[in-house]
């Protein structure tokens, strides 16, 4: 089977501290995969390695740096130009991705309309609400219609209503055939994914469909906590608290 997004034996250390310790994940074309983990589990590092922003210490990733043209990357937090307007941000990223004027115009209209940002075109990005900022980030990262999307906690700090709107965007992109890897700390969000990966202290605790991981009506959250507890007791230096 051919995987659009893949990590094999991925190891990443920061000044000796192990951030990722032999991570394996694989996401097939058209799938949406959620990486679930607490803060510091290694989600951001994993996504950055896959995007090619970090050089792995060992292991292999796909698409990596060489495939970045095919990746739409939405980092954690808001990282558009706050002193540019919504329209200027879209214009800038579209131009950088090499879209011609007409195509850029058309896609910008489409995406901003769909994201509900049309009437905020001339507002400075820094003055948007958190939810609107996340939608702008997503819109800018899919302007060039990348087949692969890497989303790092895209809805953290976003109100529930905006989160629902944001998910409509994601669903639309998935329906369009995008392969999506999303890091999240929200259980309800990850439940929407076809595939789920539990990440804990730089290791994959479990991976599979929601039904695999939380069978017979058990909640994903309960399953995750159980696995975490197991992992902690299994290590001699585990957290006793």
């Amino acid at each position: 089977m051919d995987f659009e997004i893949e990590a094999r034996g991925l190891v990443k250390r920061f000044r000796g501290a192990m951030a990722l310790d032999g991570v394996d994940i694989a996401v097939a074309s058209g799938e949406i995969c959620g990486v679930l983990g607490a803060d510091g589990a290694g989600k951001t590092t994993l996504l950055r390695c896959i995007a090619g922003l970090y050089r792995p210490d060992a292991g292999a990733v796909r698409p990596g740096r060489a495939g970045r043209d095919r990746v739409g990357f939405s980092p954690q937090g808001f990282h558009m130009y706050e002193d540019l307007t919504v329209a200027e941000n879209v214009q800038f990223f579209g131009s950088v991705y090499g879209l011609d004027r007409a195509t850029l115009q058309q896609r910008a209209d489409e995406l901003l309309e769909f994201a509900g940002l049309s009437q905020f075109r001339s507002r400075l990005a820094g003055q948007l609400s958190g939810g609107m900022q996340q939608k702008l980030t997503l819109a800018c990262s899919v302007l060039h219609r990348p087949p692969i999307l890497l989303l790092d906690e895209p809805t953290t700090g976003v109100d529930p209503l905006s989160r629902r709107e944001f998910w409509q965007l994601i669903e639309a992109l998935r329906a369009d055939g995008s392969t999506i890897l999303m890091a999240s700390a929200y259980f309800d969000e990850v439940e929407r994914c076809e595939k789920v990966v539990f990440l804990h202290e730089g290791r994959v605790l479990a991976a599979g469909t929601v039904d695999d991981l939380a069978p017979a009506g058990a909640s994903l959250e309960a399953a995750f906590r159980e696995r975490m507890a197991l992992a902690s007791s299994g290590t001699p230096n585990g957290d006793l608290g």
């Binding site: 032999g22 292999a60 980092p75 214009q91 950088v96 090499g98």
Partner: protein, 377 residues
């Protein structure tokens, strides 16, 4: 655990963008480098337009510095406090007050020890002993301010010169009245360009890192070299504007002469500018935030101002440190600027300096390219 070689990207067969999956998926670049550079440059100018603080920093501060350097900094000291000791003498008084060099107290100090006390407490800087004949016999100079002392000695030499000796005729060329402004303003053009170019470029990059937009840019097709040029280009324009501004004001406000061709000066400034901006890029590779960028830039700029000959003559710099001067771009731009302003020199005379600056521009840009990262780690 299997450890693959250090090129994970090549391990995974990278599907190129034309092999896209499904209809409507093909991403096509319609423009290359030129288009991306235009986008980057335009973005930078829009940001600058909205960032009043930076514009103030880049236009306002040079103006203040020009006024300070032009009006405030005097390389010759006048009105040095002096007194006569022992006897009064209108001859000595007249000699001292000539050209307002000294300001002589009306009374006289009765004894040398009284004069020493005056020097000690800073009431005067110079005490001239006058003999009964009304001629000076010896002089005491307060050496605690070396600058004042040196000027005093220089002035006093004429006073104590033996009356019989032939006076030597001196002719000061290029700046006959030895005006400080004529000396300082051309040097200041170089200092301002260095300051603005280095700081603005460094902050321009570091701000992107702080705000996380650098991470976004790294995910776009923008190449490292394009990102560098995208920073250098807009700030070059701004820095050159500053140079023109300072030159114009120097000519108008301080009546500094422009004996050479100002456009030639602008042309010579280009390699200097690129060197300065590349230093800014280098600063941005070590600084993690804007505060660090400012501090690092100040650390690099201060020795340039002190050791380049822009303020103090190169000849005054001891050999052990002189080699540092040789590495500083300002050391080569200062003679260019002074040469064009005051001596009317052109390329035929200044090509060695222009050549060194061009080499520096290449080396610093190359270093910046090596240290500038296209990844986060």
């Amino acid at each position: 655990m299997v450890t693959l070689p250090d090129a994970p990207d090549s391990k995974s067969p990278a599907t190129s963008s034309d092999e896209a999956t499904g209809p409507g998926r093909v991403w096509r670049a319609t423009g290359g480098t030129g288009r991306r550079l235009r986008a980057l440059t335009r973005k930078e100018f829009v940001q600058l337009r909205r960032d009043r603080r930076t514009v103030l920093l880049m236009i306002g501060m040079p103006l203040v510095l020009l006024l300070i350097f032009g009006y405030g900094i005097r390389l010759s000291v006048n009105g040095i406090g002096a007194e006569l000791v022992g006897h009064d003498s209108s001859f000595v008084r007249q000699a001292l007050t000539q050209h307002d060099r000294f300001k002589v107290t009306s009374g006289i100090a009765p004894t040398e020890s009284a004069a020493r006390d005056d020097l000690l407490h800073g009431r005067v800087s110079v005490a001239v002993m006058v003999g009964p004949s009304g001629l000076p016999t010896s002089v005491l100079v307060d050496g605690s301010d070396a600058f004042v002392a040196q000027n005093s000695l220089e002035y006093l030499r004429s006073l104590v010169a033996s009356p019989g000796a032939n006076p030597v005729r001196t002719n000061v060329l290029y700046n006959p009245t030895l005006r400080s402004a004529d000396f300082m303003v051309p040097a200041e053009v170089g200092m301002i360009m260095l300051w603005v170019g280095t700081v603005a470029t460094a902050i321009g990059v570091v701000r992107e890192r702080e705000q996380g937009t650098l991470e976004q840019l790294m995910m776009t097709p923008i190449r490292k070299i394009e990102l560098m040029i995208g920073k250098i280009l807009p700030y070059s324009v701004l820095t050159l504007l500053d140079a023109v501004l300072i030159t114009t004001l120097g000519l108008w406000l301080f009546r500094v002469p422009m004996r050479g061709n100002p456009f030639e000066l602008l042309l010579f400034a280009v390699p200097y500018l690129i060197a300065a901006l590349s230093i800014g890029l280098l600063v941005s590779t070590v600084a993690q935030n804007q505060r660090q960028a400012m501090q690092t830039a100040a650390f690099i700029l201060l020795p340039q101002v002190l050791l380049s000959g822009a303020m103090f003559p190169l000849a005054a710099i001891p050999w052990g440190i002189r080699w540092v001067s040789q590495l500083l771009p300002l050391t080569y731009f200062t003679p260019i600027s002074r040469g064009v302003f005051l001596k009317g020199l052109g390329f035929a005379d200044l090509w060695p300096q222009v050549a060194v600056l061009s080499a520096m521009a290449v080396i610093f840009t190359g270093l910046a390219a090596i240290f500038f990262k296209s990844r986060l780690d």
